[in-house]
């Protein structure tokens, strides 16, 4: 184990979480992974993937970002933020719906966009991107395979019960890996998705994310930009994003954590995401090459 991995394990132990991580310095190309290919429940990080697919669909002319969309009780889904909280019908543009999905993790927006793009279209994009560990599913729509999710035999017994229940939940049933999230973000930050203009738009939106308690908590000083998307479900606390210091190339990083505790409020787990990211990002900026 390198000193870097050792430091990260200590941070995780202290917060009572286990973690997976994948990072790339876009300047030096240095890559750092710990258990990066292990598929875990995605939580709301699946929204990042839906947004990336939407970007491609926009570039392909399949969807119109300015289309007016009415969100009413027929399409509203449960959720603690955004349009899920609305009492009345709301009309907004398609791209603002995507913005709501990304900046406040709006479940209603995400489900609408996922349904509109279609699971097949998203899967096609995942195949193109080589995101093999990722699967965005809703048991209401798809034949759910338990075997698919037990890859690595890495689910808790109580999770298995939930996974095999009839509950329909994209956040629960979607799985991804730190490596896949990092790889998709890398495409976004190097303009390898859709068009450069659309990539630029989505990078800006990810920078508008409201939640600053995870990745951004590791970079609590002026002059650094942290853009990302969180994912939360049960014991999982994730965030994937980019950390950019002025005049330097960004570091793309995804940190996934799973806590030993079932509590909803887990400030130490949130902080661990930021702390783990900070140690890796600073090591990479300092010229760490894997020794």
């Amino acid at each position: 184990m390198t000193w870097l991995e050792d430091s990260l394990e200590q941070i995780a132990d202290d917060a009572a979480v286990e973690f997976t991580v994948s990072a790339r310095h876009l300047g030096t190309g240095t890559r750092f992974d710990v258990r990066a290919d292990v598929p875990w429940t995605a939580g709301s990080t699946y929204k990042l993937i839906v947004a990336a697919a939407w970007l491609e669909a926009t570039a392909e002319g399949i969807v119109d970002p300015r289309r007016r969309i009415l969100v009413d009780e027929h399409v509203r889904r449960d959720g603690p933020t955004g349009l899920s909280l609305s009492d009345d019908p709301v009309e907004l543009s398609y791209r603002d719906l995507v913005r709501s999905m990304l900046i406040v993790s709006d479940n209603t927006a995400a489900h609408w966009i996922w349904s509109d793009l279609g699971a097949e279209y998203i899967q096609e994009k995942l195949n193109t991107w080589g995101a093999d560990a990722t699967s965005i599913v809703d048991t209401g729509r798809q034949d759910f395979s338990r075997r698919e999710l037990t890859t690595g035999d890495d689910l808790w017994p109580n999770e298995l019960e939930m996974f095999t229940s009839e509950k329909t939940d994209l956040q629960l049933f979607s799985v991804t890996s730190a490596s896949d999230l990092r790889s998709i973000l890398e495409r976004l930050w190097t303009n390898q998705l859709a068009t450069p203009e659309l990539c630029s738009w989505m990078r800006a939106v990810l920078g508008q994310q409201l939640f600053r308690h995870r990745l951004a908590s590791g970079f609590d000083y002026d002059g650094v930009e942290v853009a990302g998307k969180t994912g939360t479900w049960g014991p999982y606390r994730h965030e994937a994003g980019a950390v950019t210091h002025p005049g330097e190339p960004p570091v793309i990083i995804s940190v996934m954590t799973r806590s030993a505790r079932a509590a909803q409020q887990q400030p130490l787990a949130h902080a661990a995401v930021g702390h783990i990211a900070a140690v890796i990002v600073q090591a990479m900026r300092q010229g760490w090459t894997g020794e």
Binding site: A16, V17, S259, R261, A263, Q266
Partner: protein, 280 residues
Amino acid sequence: MAVNMTRLASCFVAVSEHLHFGRAAEQLGMSQPALSQAIRQLETVLRCQLFIRSGSGVTLTRDGETALMRARTLIRAEQDFVATRDRAVPLLGIAHEVPQEFALALIQRLQPVTAVRGSSAQCLADVRSGALAAGVVVTPALFTGVKPLVGAAAQVTLWTTRRGGAITTAAQLRTAAGPELGVSPRRWNTAVAQEVQDGVHRAGAAAALTEVEDDVAAFNVIARGGCVLNLGREVPGCTGRRVDSALLRAGFQLVVQPTIRDDAGWAEAFTAVFDHQDHS
């Protein structure tokens, strides 16, 4: 080619016992010339003469007598080594928080076993690395790299010099807690430490949390007018007040190495001890 010293030692011991090459060769199931060659090879390796061969028979030299004792030790050591699997006693780690009577009852049921006390964190790390065969740890905990077999609820208990019954409400907990509360060290299990801290704050107890590792540290807190919170481990001279699991919850879990298929009755013993004993 490497010299097989144990084989040579066996040849040497056989000749020493029979003081006759023919009978020794017969016992070893080898030819006499091969045995003679082996003894010559041994004498070359040891750079000394082991036997005096004369017309009347074979006798041991002084060097031979010394070598005989050592040869027997070498053969015995190899036999012990080969019997490792039969003689090994599994090592069981037991978390510090497990009450003494539970630990003793479990060890008794699991004989032969050698138990060691340690923190949950250490037990889990040691089971993961293979240094321990199994461990009884406190939950919540992460079971990465180990196999959780069976769990049981732990009885969170508040030890105090003041009398009182079971604690079932937040108000009772904050009243009972007093100014200082002795709790398990955070490094033993960080998840449990967080659970305890959250539970105490949720109940509205303003008590300062002091880490207590042993009875002396626990008594220091009691002597200062505080209380000690643990998982049923008795603090002598104090009254133990059970804390309802809705206020504070923890558990014990038996974990083993993932490669262990047949748990040799450990799960059964664990359940018998932890589910059917009255918590003090």
